[in-house]
């Protein structure tokens, strides 16, 4: 992987131009750069960046707890006391990424490895040591604010947690859901939670389900595809039957059958979305491996006595990665769609903010309709799926030798 890193300067024969030094890039890096150069891919990346920002800083953007509070000359931070290990790890990951981006001497793969080990270590330590307050009395600070004892208070931009059901503002004459107003920019859901806050916290599920289940699908797809493509013959015949099985049963039926028989938590949901989504990746990898398996460099690797694992994944796979990027990009879109569909059908996560679950509440009993519960979460799902599809399309165009202008 290390020889595929972006931006490694190599000595070239031609005299270097002072302003723009000649940089020899790997083919894959060229593809990535050409992709980012396209407007549609940039639009997609900007939106995904926004979602990622909301996902990482969700508790700082929307919470019922004030960030800082001064009561009776004592400073406190109710928000910090309620942050979980995951919240802290995500916040700590931001400076780590910043520092690693500056360390340009290290290869991309190494920096990614360092990032992964630091965050995982941090998460484990925090999960073992941290014990955030479990009891949530959301309205205590709104009540405190009215007593006049508060000397200074610094709230988050949206002062409501996603599960804050506004018990103190109960009004029998005005049942939830409320239409958008100045207090609740996107209205409230049927239990009284603020929708904007739910949307911000829902970014986390969308991002994590998207990436992790695509990762699972990629691992299965690469393994099965590599086996089929490299060994061909009987292995291919058997493998293709497996692919056929999973493409004959519609994905949603598989998802529903899994959900019906297994417990529902976020890890199981991620796993089943991954397990049902690898078929496309396997086809791509198989096609590439079939093409590459008889090339000279593969024979050379085998002749050098390298173990099979090395031949398959160190020598052939890097050459087959580019089409996988396209497939992975569409895969993330599909995974996000699958999660929101499950939540929409009432079979997703329970009591977690999810875009699909909000969308489900738009249909009121007796044929009524709450437009704000359909519009905002729907647009969020749409834009996220569109962003990944745009990036996938741009990647595909960048890979197409007919369109790349002979590079």
């Amino acid at each position: 992987m290390s020889d595929l890193a972006v931006g490694q300067a190599l000595p070239t024969g031609a005299p270097p131009v002072p302003d723009r030094p000649l940089v020899a890039r790997s083919w894959l890096a060229g593809v990535v750069l050409r992709t980012v150069g396209q407007i549609s891919a940039r639009v997609g990346l900007v939106w995904i960046g926004t979602i990622a920002f909301c996902a990482v800083f969700a508790p700082l953007l929307a919470s019922s707890y004030p960030i800082l509070l001064r009561v009776d000359n004592k400073w406190s931070s109710p928000l910090a006391a309620h942050l979980t290990a995951v919240d802290w790890t995500l916040l700590a990951a931001v400076p780590v990424v910043g520092v690693l981006l500056l360390l340009k001497s290290l290869s991309f793969a190494r920096r990614f490895g360092i990032f992964l080990s630091i965050t995982l270590a941090l998460l484990t330590i925090l999960l073992l040591t941290l014990d955030p307050k479990r009891t949530n009395v959301y309205d205590q600070f709104r009540a405190l604010d009215t007593t006049g004892r508060v000397q200074s208070i610094w709230r988050t931009p949206i002062p409501y947690s996603p599960s804050d059901r506004l018990r103190d503002q109960f009004d029998a004459a005005r049942p939830h859901p409320w239409a958008p107003s100045r207090d609740h920019w996107m209205g409230t859901e049927i239990n009284g939670g603020d929708i904007l806050s739910n949307m911000i916290h829902g970014c986390r599920i969308a991002m994590s389900v998207g990436f992790i289940s695509t990762g699972i699908a990629l691992v299965i797809g690469i393994f099965v595809g590599a086996m089929m493509g490299y060994f061909a013959g009987v292995v291919d015949l058997v493998g293709m039957r497996l692919v056929e099985i999973f493409s004959a049963i519609p994905r949603i039926y598989l998802l529903l059958a899994f959900v019906a028989f297994y417990d529902r938590n976020i890890y199981i949901i991620m796993a089943i979305i991954g397990v049902t989504g690898w078929v496309g990746d396997a086809r791509f990898v198989r096609a590439e491996f079939l093409k590459l398996r008889n090339l000279d460099f593969v024979h050379a690797a085998i002749a050098a006595g390298l173990p099979l694992r090395s031949v398959l994944f160190r020598h052939i796979l890097p050459n087959a990665l580019a089409p996988l990027l396209v497939s992975a990009s569409f895969g993330v879109a599909g995974a996000i769609l699958a999660e929101s569909t499950l939540s929409f059908l009432g079979l997703g996560l329970i009591d977690e903010p999810s875009w699909g679950r909000l969308l489900d509440q738009a249909r009121a009993g007796g044929g009524g309709f709450h437009w704000w519960l359909a519009t905002f979460p729907g647009i969020a799902i749409f834009l996220t799926v569109l962003a990944y599809n745009l990036i996938g399309e741009s990647l595909r165009d960048a890979l197409d030798p007919k369109l790349s202008g002979g590079q």
Binding site: L237, R241, L242, E244, I245, F246, S247, A248, I249, P250, R251, I252, Y253, L254, L256, A257, F258, V259, A260, F261, Y262, D263, A333, L337, S340, T341, F344, L345, G346, L347, G356, L359, A362, R363, G366, G367, G368, F369, H370, W371, A374, T375, P377, G378, I379, I381, F382, V385, L386, N389, L390, E393
Partner: protein
């Protein structure tokens, strides 16, 4: 080609067995195992009812047998060919022959699963049979137009619009369309649920005027109920197919035979519709296999939003009532339909394109 078709049909059997294995082991390896989970949903019922179910489960799955034996037993029951009498223990009878597949019994609904599925299947198939021609006609037309106007406004806009349509989740569009065009809060142009009016059975088939009053009749009533669901089912499939059609037409327009046709002095119109078109449609045949499972899946969402009593809605209800026999059989049946469409598309392609060689 005949040998190819034969080979393709023979390869169908391992896949079919694979589908049954996936379906069976999803249930068998779940935390509750086969029988536990089947019994758990029946916790509170009369003792004699409970005994009957236990006897049924014992006969059908063989409580306490190894999983492989349980699977063999279940497979024998659901297959149309097999041991005719499956008694206690592993079937010892040697009479092998055709029989009606036994998909089990739904305890929640107290009816054979096969009957329930045969009631729901036509609705889903109807939705798909209307959807597929619409998808093909629209995407072939827009694909041809985009290819003819390559790089011009229509090509670029249709590309962007279709990608956007493709990215719009069905759950969102379904809810929006239902909310704005069928809810009592906004325009009430269409009915909110069902495939027919309650009084549809008494209607004449075609629209009629009786004493100057318009009666829409059975056919128009069905169309009126199905317009919104069909819109939601079709729009997402346009992008993929039309893009495929566009690139296929572009490729064929620059092919040698198209140049020969032009050299003969044929007009561009004749070249396109006589020569290029039939060759360009070929890739769309193979795609039919992959869109049918997609459409069957889309039907789950559409049926649940618009309250149509098809396979999708049945599946959701089965999950909510934990009717496990029904869930299994439905996954199984839908898998068979998907597999069938895969095979049919492969064979159609082999017939339509004689150039393809099959070793």
């Amino acid at each position: 080609m005949l040998s190819y078709i034969l080979r393709r049909i023979l390869l169908l059997f391992p896949t079919l067995i694979g589908i049954t294995m996936v379906v069976f082991f999803v249930m068998a390896l779940s935390p509750g195992r086969v029988t536990d989970s089947l019994q758990a949903s029946e916790a509170n019922m009369r003792p004699e009812e409970r005994q009957r179910i236990e006897a049924y489960l014992k006969k059908r799955y063989g409580l306490g047998d190894p999983l492989v034996v349980q699977y063999g037993r279940w497979l024998n029951r659901v297959s149309p060919v097999g041991f005719k009498e499956a008694g206690e223990g592993f079937p010892r009878s040697t009479t092998i022959g055709f029989k009606t597949p036994d998909l089990g019994e739904s305890f929640i609904r107290r009816r054979p699963v096969l009957d329930i599925i045969l009631e729901a299947l036509p609705v889903t198939l109807l939705l798909n049979l209307i959807t597929i021609p619409i998808v093909y006609v629209v995407s072939i037309t827009s694909g041809i137009w985009a290819a003819r106007k390559r790089g011009q406004a229509f090509d670029v806009t249709s590309g962007v619009v279709l990608l956007a349509l493709y990215s719009m989740p069905e759950i969102w569009i379904g809810v929006m369309v239902l909310g704005f065009f069928a809810s009592r809060d906004y325009l009430q142009w269409f009915p909110t649920s069902g495939t027919h009016d309650v009084l549809a059975a008494q209607m004449a088939f075609l629209p009629v005027f009786v004493d100057g009053v318009f009666h829409r009749g059975w056919l128009l009533d069905a169309v009126w109920h199905l317009i919104l669901p069909i819109i939601v089912m079709t729009y997402g499939s346009f992008a993929f197919m039309s893009k495929l059609m566009r690139s296929s037409v572009l490729e064929n327009l620059t092919a040698d035979y198209a140049r020969t046709a032009r050299a003969k002095g044929l007009t561009e119109h004749v070249v396109l519709f006589r020569h290029v078109l039939s060759n360009s449609v070929l890739p769309l045949i193979t795609v039919a296999a992959s869109i049918l499972p997609g459409l069957l899946g889309g039907a789950v969402i559409v049926e649940s939003i618009f309250g149509l009593n098809g396979m999708g809605k049945l599946m959701l209800e089965a999950i909510k009532t934990k009717d496990q026999e029904l869930i299994l059989s439905q996954t199984f049946v839908v898998g068979i339909i998907g597999l069938g469409s895969l095979i049919v598309a492969d064979i159609c392609y082999a017939i339509a394109d004689p150039r393809v060689s099959y070793e």
